[in-house]
Amino acid sequence: MKLVKNAAGRYVPVEINGLKSEPFRGVGAYKPKGKKAAPKISSCMDYPEDGNKIVPDLKTALIKAGIRDGITISTHHHFRNGDFIANRIFDIAAELGIKNLRWFPSAAFECHAPNIRHLDSGVIHHIEGSLNGSLGEYCSQGRMRGLGVLRSHGGRYQAIQDGEVHIDIAVIAAPTADPFGNANGVNGPSACGGLGFALADSQYADKVIVVTDNLVPFPCVPWQIQGNYVDYVVVMDKIGDPSKIVSGTTEITRSPDRLYIAELVAKFIKTAGIMRNGFSFQAGAGGTALAFAVELAKLMRKENIKARFVRGGSTKFLVEMLKEGLTDYILDGQTFDLEGVKSMRDNPNHVHTSPFTSYNYHGKGNFASMVDVVVLGATEVDLSFNANVVTHSDGRLLHGIGGWQNCLFSKCVILALPSFRDRIPVIVDEVTTLVGPGELIDVVITERGIAINPIREDLIDAVKNSDLPLKSIEELHREVIRICGKPQKPLLGDKIVAAVKWVDGTVLDSVKQVLKAQWGIKLPGAE
């Protein structure tokens, strides 16, 4: 595989799964030319006038949609670890003797591990989407036929729009739908909130199948997915496990160290003057991020400050802020608990968003850059503030990019993380995999102090006379190494197993194979 050194100094392939790819040129350095892709023209003549697109089962739908060797099938991840559909699709494909499919999920979870047998047998050629858990391990071991491609949520959306990824069949699991294909995620026994991750799939795929376990007569409102894009509707008994779709137990961390980090983050945002009337913030659903939102809410209450909008990943904590009037709006990309689902359904100020509005880098702007402050995690951050979210320090694929890269365009990007985890340094000299360029990462907040990126002189000025525990990133690093000891370099193979895309579609880094001696989770057929 031919590799070239990109603008970040990383060696990346110039061709990915047979398609020419553009190496990263620097933040804000690459502008693609040309026109967006467009779906084929359809005609009402081909669809039933009564609007009834129901077919007997998923297999029939896939056959009618023209499932065949070598095509691309997409799914969404709004059901998270409770999804039943993606596995079913590839079981059917195997039954039909189909080979070499490209699976293009908006993310995959541990519940999708059974698809390893379809990867082994060649039903699935490769996955382009987040690779974590067992699937991450499988890819890390170098056993996937094609190259894994890791894209941000925004990057995935525009890869579809730009024509980089053409979806042949999109299968959209929908908690509620009507026979015409209108669908939403806020109603029904498998309610998950929004369906934004499937929006581009519905608009651009050749064939669109909606699968639901809660069929309602036309019209299904709200229609987060419009039936006008949909070819077939399938009704099934159960499309997911609600207890794993929204856990209902999204709890704040009880770790005193994480709570302390969360307090520091909230205090930093206040001290730096970011917390003011009409501001906006984004926080994810990790334990520390939840705790941060709660701490910030306390400070906002105390100082009588109100946000204009909050970006979620919504949880009951953000919902409470909305109800209490601490924010005018929640702009929600995915909903993490039942309170979030209920709020999105019932409260017009809890707004459903998609990666297009929030994150798409090839749009005419997006929301991410308008957010005043975002609080994110990472597996590693280095002395140049570069950060990694996709691999563990031993090089193993661990996590998808999600909206993480897109969020780096916020006015203030804070990474809130422990300085080490189980002896493994999080503050490192150089990240194993580059996912976020350091120039976009402003503040690193750990239990051992706060390091501000030297290029953010304004932030340094804003907090210089405070009692915040400010340190340089080098000081933090020295301290961590003193505690943990200097780690040895992990031994990695030469084979490239995955490519990390930047938000503009260029290739930021590549992920190498983990050697057999270091294989982690035991996978079927691994011996």
Partner: protein
């Protein structure tokens, strides 16, 4: 002598610890079987330190099984040493990690002791980050939180922690076991910059004197003060409180343990606390009479922050200056509740300003308005200022305003 011995903990719920099993052999050299979560990054380093330890203790042929859950090096060293000593090899040798600069800071006799955080002495995972929560003191406990079968392991682990862990300026305390058993604990911790020894179930001045005797013996004429905080936990201790408080120059604080005390007088702890009012007041008065700090018992319900706050306010009103805690989240609640209120701070500012003014003018008498101020009042006001500064209620430049 045994041919097989083990130390440390393993299992999926274990963190930052390390299980080591040594099986002595007649030949074959040292064979290390390592399973570690951090193998890829620290496998070599773990094997190296095990080999070094074997060399140090003169073990030439053994199979050493290591199951590591991300233990730091000083923990691995402690577990290895414990296993070696459990082989029954009578060795006085100590496999010491380096004494780090960050472990060398001193303490002061009259520093704040508002909060003291108890950490189980045989549990490495809590030690590493305890200092970041900034309690006034951190207690590495060898007594009640350590299983009787693990006392030997805890001593070695605590000793290594004293040499390697940065407690970020917190006072470094160790609670030893009850005298006389606790005297042996001192051998392990005194040489490693421990600031305060807590003497549990202290009943008479003699307990304190025995501790001091042993400390002097260990320090071998080295000039170093180790402070003591006796814990009164019985009726006899309460009756002897003043004798204990004034028994030695290095006793800096007196505290009380109510669980054992209430059992001793044949009653139970209540929220209201009538049953311990006498004992607590005795502690306060004995301590004040001896010119040392009076420190209240531990508040052990970690979920009840409001209860903790009320308990501290009540303790403060009785004359206590500190409270024990077992969870980092309790610390800020304790500090806030002990903090002087605005009126106290403003009064203290006036007094200290007047004092400074008198000092610069060379006056021997300090007055605020037409009221004379005695030196103890000035001292107390300075303490209030220091307190207000430490919790951010007063800015460093308060004199200029």
């Amino acid at each position: 002598m045994n041919t097989i011995a083990e130390a440390g903990r393993k299992g999926s719920d274990v963190r930052s610890d390390c299980y080591i099993c040594i099986e002595l052999r007649k030949s074959g050299g040292i064979k290390i079987e390592l399973v570690s979560r951090v193998d890829v990054l620290y496998g070599k380093s773990i094997k190296n330190i095990i080999k070094k330890g074997c060399e140090y203790f003169g073990i030439e042929n053994a199979i050493i099984k290591v199951e590591d859950s991300g233990a730091l090096q000083f923990v691995i060293m402690a577990r290895l040493e414990t296993a070696v000593k459990r082989l029954g090899k009578t060795t006085r040798k100590e496999f010491l990690p380096e004494m780090l600069e960050c472990a060398k800071y001193p303490t002061k006799r009259d520093r704040f002791r508002r909060s003291r955080l108890y950490l189980p002495g045989n549990e490495p995972k809590y030690m590493l980050n305890a200092g970041i929560h900034k309690p006034d003191g951190i207690i590495l406990d060898l007594e009640d939180s350590v299983n009787p079968t693990e006392k030997d392991a805890a001593r070695i682990l605590v000793r290594n922690a004293l040499r390697q862990v940065d407690f970020y300026g917190c006072e470094r305390m160790v609670r030893i076991n009850q005298i006389p058993a606790g005297l042996e604990d001192l051998d392990y911790v005194i040489p490693h910059n421990v600031h305060v020894i807590l003497i549990p179930k202290c009943e008479k001045a003699e307990d304190v004197l025995l501790v001091n005797e042993r400390i002097i013996k260990i320090l071998k004429g080295k000039k170093k003060t180790v402070y003591l905080m006796p814990i009164i936990e019985s009726a006899l201790g309460v009756i002897n409180a003043y004798e204990i408080a004034s028994s030695a120059e290095n006793v800096v604080a007196l505290t009380i343990g109510l669980e054992d005390y209430t059992a001793d007088i044949g009653t139970q702890r209540t929220i209201e606390g009538k049953e311990s009012f006498f004992a607590r007041s005795m502690i306060v008065n004995a301590a004040k009479a001896a010119g040392i700090q009076a420190i209240d018992t531990v508040f052990s319900d970690v979920t009840d922050m409001e209860g903790l706050r009320n308990s501290v306010i009540e303790a403060k009103s009785l004359g206590f200056e500190g409270k024990g805690c077992i969870h980092p989240r309790q610390i800020s609640v304790i500090h806030e509740a002990f903090a002087p209120d605005d009126a106290e701070i403003q009064k203290a500012i006036k007094i200290v300003k007047a004092y400074k003014e008198a000092e610069t003018k060379g006056l021997s008498v300090v007055a605020v308005g037409n009221k004379m101020i005695d030196p103890p009042v000035v001292k107390r006001a300075m303490k209030t200022i220091e307190h207000a500064l430490s919790i951010g209620r007063l800015q460093e430049n308060w004199m200029e305003n």
